[in-house]
Amino acid sequence: MAEFFNMGGYGPYIWSSFLIAAVVMSGLALQSWFDLRKQKRLVAELEARATKSQT
Amino acid sequence: MSAFWALVQRDVRLATRVGGGGGMAVFFFLIVLSIVPFGIGPDLNLLTRIAPGMLWVALLLSALLTLDRLFQADQEDGTLDLLVMAPQPLELTVLAKAISHWLTTGLPLVVAAPLLGLMLNLPLDGMLPLMGAMLVGSPALSLLGAVGAALAVGVRRGGLLISLLVLPFYVPVLIFGVSASRAALVAVPGDLGGQSLLLLGAVSLASLVVGPVGGAAALRVAVK
């Protein structure tokens, strides 16, 4: 097990590159998803206000 | 065609009367270069080695400085709307603007370069290749810069944005320009010096197309 994480001495380089990739990619995905949720909420709010002012 | 030269004349006259012409750009050029020895120490051998590169980097930066006024001033007083609606093709208008920019910044800097080269201990037999390369390469800076200036027209604090947009496109000019200027000073394999001058010319010719076409496309969007 320790040997697997050591990766023949290259462990720190390998694990940090995969870790950075994982963090950056999930960060991008989450940021995009939060933005989508925010815009959905805004549209819902504005449309509700539009129908209210019409009635 | 007369409208074209009238525009060049107008812009050069405006730049010399209001903006101090090439004076300010040359002054900036001088200051940047005299900062260099403070940064790396006054070792003359080292200065000789980096002189062509530093001169080119300073040329790029000085050319950038004046770009934000290229279309912005005309946009603010409404002249740009007239220029876009004028019967003259917009591509030619952008070309005229780039030419006047080059006449008021590029050309003075090229003339001043050998003098500043002396301060960086550039040998005398390196002066002519340097001036030649700058003469061939500096129009590309104005032409590509015109695209950036047109893209950023109407943007508040567009000066910084123009630098961000334009600097990546200046990379080939810098690379070929420096290697053409260094050819007389450093032994380079084969005929790379002569070739890089030709390649620099090719980049300038390419930007003679890219600059006006891209700049005009950006202006049409900006003014609409």
């Binding site: 950075i20 950056v24 995009s32 504005l46 | 893209l151 944005l161 947009l165 990379v171 969007v221």
Partner: protein, 257 residues
């Protein structure tokens, strides 16, 4: 007087756009809602299986040992940095010539993802370079032109951020993307030239026929997973962007009426 005129003009183009909106982007919203779960599933499967293959199946390289595993991040990221710019250019052409209302949404959404993968390619390349070359950063031709590509991505994104009106920003950004597409080969050529001038030959090469096929398969699977991840994030961003413009039109309508 001129100010009011300009404001009126902006308003009118916005109205024209919103008529377009109901034709095409609505269909995209429906389509993407159906497709997205599958795209995410393919991305997850590709990345999951690829990770398993790259750590447990792929053998260490006979020269580089286990450090070759960094390739499974580096190469797919580098591929997507090119793919992203390709999408941006294709969308920009569609936006400028056909005025397709979705095209500029696509171009805007692809840029940050492409920039992120360009960044990842540089970081993973550096982490691979340290044990191989003894330094995190080398000014070799490929690293340098990837860095310039990152700058062009960032400039493109900066342009979108600074121009307020989305219609104008879309067309200005499209012009920049196309000027970039014309210039990128020139930049790449000049950087290659610069590299041979300063560093004649004997540069350690990362690519080419030296990659053994037992490493190539896992690489391929990870690359497919990453590509679907790219498409998934891009769709989410496009959905958000379409809604953002809808919010803008609604706000303007309510402010006016």
């Amino acid at each position: 007087m001129t100010c009011r005129f300009v404001a009126l003009g902006l308003h009118q183009t916005d109205m024209a756009w919103s008529i377009h909106t109901f034709a095409n982007p609505t269909r995209f919203m429906r389509f993407s809602a159906i497709v997205l779960p599958y795209v995410w599933a393919l991305a997850g499967a590709g990345i999951g299986i690829g990770l398993y293959l790259s750590f447990f199946v792929a053998p260490p390289d006979y020269q580089q040992g286990d450090s070759v595993r960094i390739m499974f991040v580096h190469v797919p990221a580098a591929w997507l940095s090119q793919f992203g710019y390709g999408i941006m250019v294709a969308s920009s052409i569609m936006a400028l010539i056909f005025r397709h209302p979705l095209a500029d949404v696509a171009a805007k959404s692809a840029a940050p993802i492409g920039a992120v993968f360009t960044f990842l390619a540089l970081v993973a390349g550096g982490l691979w370079g340290k044990p191989m070359w003894g330094t995190y950063w080398v000014w070799d031709a490929r690293t340098t032109s990837t860095l310039v590509l990152l700058f062009i991505y960032l400039g493109y994104m900066a342009l979108w951020v600074t121009i307020e009106d989305p219609n104008r920003a879309a067309r200005v950004a499209a012009v920049l993307a196309l000027v970039g597409a014309v210039n990128l080969p020139i930049i790449r050529f000049s950087v290659d030239w610069w590299n041979t001038l300063h560093q004649p030959a004997s540069v350690f090469r990362l690519d080419g026929p030296t990659i053994h096929s037992s490493l190539l398969w896992p690489l391929f699977v990870v690359a497919i997973g990453f590509t679907f991840f790219f498409l998934g994030v891009m769709m989410v961003r496009m959905r958000a962007e379409i809604l953002r413009r809808r919010v803008r039109t609604l706000q303007m309508q309510q402010a006016a009426g």
